[in-house]
Symmetry: C2
Subunit: 354 residues, 2 copies
């Protein structure tokens, strides 16, 4: 039987990287000491050009690449940060994540990320896995409402910034959009165009942004002296089936609405599809911008958040913390912007508005 490559570690094939040359190998080949190789690799002073040249030659000859795991172990800093959000593929979160990545890059850090799928247990599992990797800091779009599990980590020095939603039961930095004000302005826009019966279709009530936007809706209605029928408000999963059913219910029920405010990009996309098939025009304002929203008929009026800026702001705050800023937890709120394109300006179509 041929000699399987079984090292001192038992019957398993030696680790994939077992064959990798180390600084020791480079040192041996260049005929210098270990530390001299380290100096060259890290650009430290105190090496003659001649020695450096020999070392560099050995490095390329052997294909040496420094093992950052060992470096991290020794130095205590990993130069990497973690990002946990709901869904990397969501058109709202994708630019946020790209922005975090850019800032990380500017600080020489790599980005580890994962999607929680809006599941608190999965969020926790991901976050703790990232902690085990000893990321220097975390940017988190929280799915759960209790982040006390982070306390030992933050006590040990982990920096955490929550983004899009605040963390729960923990004092921590947060960067949020003005969800309340944005929704209020969006609904006020509908009111200003004569609507009195306005529906609110939002995400699950345990999500902070959903309840804040609902609050904005109620505030706008109250400010206009308009009653809110219980059948006009619907919070729940954003699965297309549910949103479709709820939209149709609001349009055709005993107390039909003449306008809709939709609580996020996914809800808006589904609602637009329902409205496109509906016999009478229904006004619509949605939270979050959509690609091509300007090309629909009517073009969709939205309350736009700057996802990229959310991510950038959060990441910059995180790196300020990593650079030693130890002030009290900071909450930043970014403005939203109403982009009127037409769908919010349709007049009520049922004659009940007077």
């Amino acid at each position: 039987m041929p000699d399987r490559t079984r090292g001192p570690n038992g019957p398993f094939p030696r680790p994939r990287y077992g064959a990798r040359p180390t600084m020791k190998d480079v040192a041996a080949r260049a005929g210098v000491g270990l530390k001299t190789v380290s100096r060259v690799v890290n650009g430290e002073p105190g090496v003659t050009a001649e020695t450096e040249h020999r070392v560099r030659e050995a490095i390329t000859a052997l294909g040496f690449r420094r093992n950052d795991s060992a470096r991290v172990l020794r130095k205590g800093r990993t130069a990497s940060i973690g990002l946990v959000l709901e869904d990397l593929a969501d058109p709202f979160y994708a630019p946020l994540s790209r922005a975090v990545e850019e800032v990380a890059r500017d600080h020489g850090a790599l980005l580890l990320n994962g999607s929680s799928a809006e599941d608190p247990a999965r969020e926790r599992e991901l976050v703790l896995a990232l902690c085990a990797r000893r990321v220097d800091g975390l940017v988190v779009v929280p799915a759960g409402g209790d982040h006390r599990y982070l306390e030992p980590e933050t006590a040990a020095g982990l920096a955490t910034v929550f983004v899009d939603r605040p963390g729960g039961l923990i004092a921590a930095d947060a960067v949020l959009s003005d969800n309340f004000g944005g929704a209020r302005d969006g609904v006020a826009h509908l009111v200003a165009h004569g609507h009195r019966r306005i529906g609110f279709l939002g995400d699950q009530p345990r999500i902070h942004t959903a309840t804040e936007r609902l609050r904005g809706y109620r505030a706008a209605m109250a400010a206009a002296g308009l009653p809110v029928d219980a059948s006009w408000v619907s919070l729940g999963p954003t699965a297309p089936d549910r949103v479709r059913a709820e939209t149709e219910r609001m349009l055709t029920g005993p107390s039909p609405v003449t306008a809709l405010f939709t609580g996020n990009n996914r809800v808006t996309a589904t609602a637009v599809r329902v409205l496109a098939r509906h016999p009478r025009p229904v006004a619509l304002v949605g939270f979050d911008d959509l690609e091509l929203a300007d090309l629909l008929t009517p073009a969709v009026t939205v309350v736009a958040q700057d996802a990229s800026r959310l991510g950038r702001t959060a990441a910059e705050l995180l790196f300020r913390r990593l650079d030693g800023d130890a002030g009290p937890p900071r909450h930043e709120e970014l403005p939203t912007r109403l982009i009127a394109r037409g769908s919010g300006e349709l007049p009520p179509a049922d004659g009940t508005s007077g």
Copy 2:
């Protein structure tokens, strides 16, 4: 002057995680040996319930969390993979990246990722940084055309799968869409609806998918016996300004087209905006699906790729490699799907088609 916490490492503040309890601390507190703690943490057998209980208590009391950097150093595997693509925020790549993440998760691995911004130097820099972290494998959407720099890495055991585009000058796995066939079918669709003057607006010629799709366009034109005027083909950056100018040029030049085939999602989005303002109807088929494409007037006909499946297939292939599959480099090609929605069925509007 107060005594700055300067450890044995010099004037720098001790690493953030310096305060972290280690297995040694846990062992001391539980009154057991180091290795016993390791056994408990890793669920290895050979520990009595009573001992395990004491260890677990110490772990929670101290807030211990295993340091995976040290573990990695010892074990040689990092249980993490890297993903390098053009832009995490692009609606085409976001689902791809999410799919890779899901597969990684199923295999207990974390995902490190970065955007190359279509810059070969940046791609290389990112890839090598990931190699230094000793990711177990890499999924790469290549920006550059020369990946010989990966040779020392693959020789040392790094598994690499290219996705969306093949790697250059290196024998490696690749998972691609049928770009040629998809474009050919899309253009044939336009031909079938009477078009003879069809423009092709694509990405930069150094990008493999761009030239493959152009090849498909030419094949469809040739198959229909149609000449291709040089002014009908434009490859270049997908910046909206350029695409807008090129679209207008093709529509109004001396030899105007009656239909357009657009080479990717960004180009399509810009072209649709130009066509919406154009006086006469122009047929359009685009490569890549767009959210809400079905709601535009006319609804946009597309050649859809399954980005999610591309990512999943690539990641699964990567993990098969990590599990020991050492066969020759594999090239998988995934089918595309023509989704006819109307914009491709507009008849030629200039009377020159006869």
